[in-house]
Amino acid sequence: MAIEVSSARLAARVRKIRRGEGSAFFLLDVQMEVPSGISILFGPSGAGKSTLLDCIAGLAQTDEGRIAINGDVIFDSEKGLSVPPQSRQIAYVFQSLALFPHMTVEANVAYGLPHAREQTRDGRVSEILKMFRVEQFRHRKPREISGGEKQRVALARSLVTQPRVLLLDEPLTGLDAELKGSIIDDLRAWNAAHKIPILYVTHSREEVDALGERVIALEHGKIVSEGTPREVLDAPRRRRLAQAAGFENLLRATVLDLREPDGVMRVRLADAVCEIEVPLGHAAPGDRVRVAIRAGDILLATEPPRALSARNVLEGKISSLERRGTLVVARVDCDVVFTVHVTPGAERALELAVGKKVWLVLKTHSCHFVEG
Amino acid sequence: QEIRVAAAADLKFALDELGTHYEKQTGRKMDVSYGSSGNFLAQIQNGAPFDVFLSADIEYPRKLEAAGLAEPGTLYEYALGRIVIWMPADTRIDLAQLGWKALLDPSIQKIAIGNPEHAPYGRAAVAALRSVGIYEQVRAKLVYGENIAQAAQFVASGNAQAGILALSLAISPPMREGKRWEIPAKMHPPIEQAAVILKSAKDKDSARAFLTFLKSGEARKILESYGFSVPASAQTQ
């Protein structure tokens, strides 16, 4: 199967086996196209995200496959071609950073600019150090700065070069909310200015929402889903992914009947009596399935709601209320226990309290049918 | 016109004085390298830039002559080595009285000699021991110096209680204080020391001049005063 090679994109087909001790091994088998812009690589720990980036950068040997940037083939196992990492023009921020311990922050950042004229180089280095707010550490060694500061230096070091592809392996972990926000803004601006494919590994839903135009979901070394953040993360097809993406409600259900004209099917939740409508899926009456619903997608009312388009209304009692930062997490017992998020403002307005009778409103299209 | 002389290490003291006289007499300079005669042989065979070779063992110059590396007819036996039994001054053994029997004293645990495999003084020492018939008795006590100077260090440092050394060393300033007993020359084959001018000598005139000086009575006197005897063949010249 040939990969269509278009311009300003990274096309990769990668197969790699990692052998551990004994018989255990890990197989990465991936085929993808990354257009310019930020693509999020999302997946649980050990899914193979770092391995994939290593293969693309040429740091891990790819067993089989083909990798091309803007139509320029940098790896082809059939032709025995493998451009060495230093010639791939791929910038890569490692999970482990790997700052050069013997060089100052400044020298670390200037490292990728050996050919620039001194003035240009100094200017660009200063600029990027300022952008990542580490200019006051420019004469320090990596050992003399904090963890978050190191992270910013590693980012600066990679972004100052003019790469054709940018690989970022969890670049913002360990930064505080404000710094994260400002660096995200800078990354967006950088992206808008450079228009190159950026593969961005993160586990943070927040970062996905703030940065991602596309999400590639990796699991056990395989791509399990690909698309916009909403498509991938809000409508997951696999249980593991549903958990990883933070679907607070993941309910067992039995299919009752399919209503094909309406594009819905009725399911009964767990062994309870409550029934809800969910979008039509590949299932037959009697099948046991799972339904994933985000806690934030559930509307909570203190009176039976009237004149609403929503068909799924469940009556229940609040069994617990817990403040979590900007959120209030309510558990509502409707035979099945639902987790519902409301804002503190709503909590007060609705005078929510444990034991209070409430109604849950679930829009059909917020209920996701999940395999397995 | 400086001549380079390769000389056996046991000549050190004698040759220093010979050199001064030679330089005063002829106005020519000489530069001496001391070392092991075996090494010099190997070096000369491989092109070492020496003009004259003063060997501790006549065998080596003969080898050079045979190989055509020496000026024919210049081989000159300039001295015979003498050996002595030497003990530190503080020894309680009466060396002068006992002579070679002193070596059998139970307080003597180690006797230092030159390595008989390649050092002529070592060979002579073994021959002497054999000739008085005590070789087997003292054999286990023998320690070998790489050359005769090292054997001297073994005794001088007290690690060996007695040594069979070159007379030239035994009367040198550092060891003059010790007790010594000269082993009669008839107890060992002669330690023939010979000089030769090398084919590769740059300034053969100077080399010859030096050899001539070495044959002079003055040189012979100096050699004798440093513990060498001058062979009959040389005396007749």
Partner: protein, 228 residues
Amino acid sequence: MKIEALLLSVRLALCVSAILIAIGVPLAYGLAYSRWRGKFLLEAIVALPLVLPPTVLGFYMLLAMGPRGALGKLWYAAFGHGLAFTFAGLVIASVLYSLPFAVQPLVASFETVDSKLLDASAVLGAGSLRTFRRIILPLSVPGIITALVLSFAHTLGEFGVVLMVGGNLSGVTRTVSIDIYDRAQSLDYAGANRTALLLLVISFLVLSAVYGANRRAGRRAWAPWPLR
């Protein structure tokens, strides 16, 4: 004369150390990073000059450098004179003899550089040479110092090889260690002591300057250093 010998020795040691670093660094790089499975054989060969007595090694060198030896013939063809008994000959012989002391510590240092840093360098566009110069070398400074000190000091003290291929020619090949040896051989202990002491003092000064500078720089320059 003593000074002459001392200067000669220092000159020889400097030349030899410089050449050893120049040869040893690429050689050690090859040994540390080559993926050739048989390279342990090469490593063993590099260590071999060590196991021969110096005078014996010197003897074989003398044969090689002599008019009938391969090296000697080559040299003669190129320069019109022999190689043995010249300063150049001493340098070559000492380089061969001290090679293991330079290469071994270098290999050991190069091998302990964190490979993640090499990866980082590569993705920043640096080729092997730049990575080597900017990352591997500076992080191997302790090993390089070791290599330098061992080769410098060893060449100063070496006399077997030097005696054999040098022939103890004053001003050309009579190094200070041969001078001391000569004095000790002729039982001139006072002279030997004086010269040895002079050599020791000078060496001590040089070595402690190197180590002192190394420490002072090291504390600040190289990260792996324990600093508490």
